[in-house]
């Protein structure tokens, strides 16, 4: 009986040992995943293509477009508009040109801002 009890204890220990071994496998898998992530980060730092989500690419592409559009807008604001030569004539007995009635050397300028509607 003693030998049988010893054998049972031995079998029990073996079973416990095997159980511990099964639990160690997922831990090993998790370690592998961390290693893979670290490798990915290293690849990204080195400028190598990484399996990043595709949605990041359009975001990166938008930035240069904004940078391009800004310098395009600035020259438009700074553009010098060439206006056609004004025609000098007479309107209701007064010297006239585009927008202006009266003599150019008149001491007082009355500027009127208006809207036809």
């Amino acid at each position: 009986m003693r030998w049988f009890s010893v054998a049972l204890v031995a079998v029990g220990l073996v079973v416990i040992a095997c159980g511990t071994g099964d639990e160690a496998q997922p831990a090993g898998t998790a370690t592998s995943e961390r290693v893979e992530r670290q490798a990915t980060v290293t690849q990204q730092q080195q400028g190598q293509p990484a399996p990043a989500p595709e949605t990041e690419e359009p975001e990166q592409a938008e930035e240069p477009q904004q940078q391009i559009s800004t310098p395009e807008e600035e020259p438009q604001e700074q553009q010098v508009v060439e206006l056609p030569a004004d025609v000098v004539g007479e309107h209701k007995g007064v010297r006239s040109e585009r927008h202006v009635l009266g003599e150019p050397d008149a001491p007082v300028e009355i500027r009127y801002y208006g809207d036809f509607t």
């Binding site: 553009q79 508009v81 206006l83 056609p84 004004d86 025609v87 004539g89 309107h91 209701k92 007995g93 007064v94 006239s96 040109e97 585009r98 927008h99 202006v100 009635l101 009266g102 003599e103 150019p104 008149a106 001491p107 007082v108 300028e109 009355i110 500027r111 009127y112 801002y113 208006g114 809207d115 036809f116 509607t117």
Partner: protein
């Protein structure tokens, strides 16, 4: 006001300040296009009193251009291409820079004028007197 201009005391300058949208914008452009052919003031007056002009339509403006003896093809091209858009925009920006917040706004020698006609006339005379004093003194 006319007397001040006729007498050589003042000159009058009209500038567009578009605050009522597309109709105002169109009228301003049509007036500028007429100005290319020496009819700026005729269109200015028409847009104040003429019913055809005050329809604020393309057809009305073209009819007016014909009546004024303008080259209608040139006028049509000008308004269709919005050739004076930038000029009007410049005036708009200048109006805001001058402190205009609505229409009508008068400035006399660069200073914001009174809202009443009597007040404006008085300010014009004061400005003319100030200029005379400067020249005399």
């Amino acid at each position: 006001m006319e007397e001040l201009i006729h007498s050589g005391i003042a000159r009058y300058e009209y500038r567009h300040f578009i605050i009522f949208g597309s109709a105002s914008q169109f009228a301003a452009m049509a007036t500028e296009c007429a100005g290319d052919q020496g009819a700026w003031w005729e269109f200015h007056d028409a847009y104040l009193i003429d019913a055809r002009a005050r329809s604020f339509t393309r057809a009305g403006a073209l009819e007016l251009a014909r009546d004024e003896g303008l080259d209608v093809a040139q006028f049509t091209q000008c308004i269709d291409n919005e050739e004076h858009r930038d000029r009007i925009l410049q005036m708009q920006q200048q109006a805001i820079a001058d402190g205009a917040r609505g229409t009508p706004t008068f400035l006399i020698n660069g200073r914001m004028a009174a809202r009443s006609l009597d007040g404006i006339i008085e300010q014009v005379h004061d400005a003319a007197e100030a200029v005379e004093n400067q020249e005399g003194g």
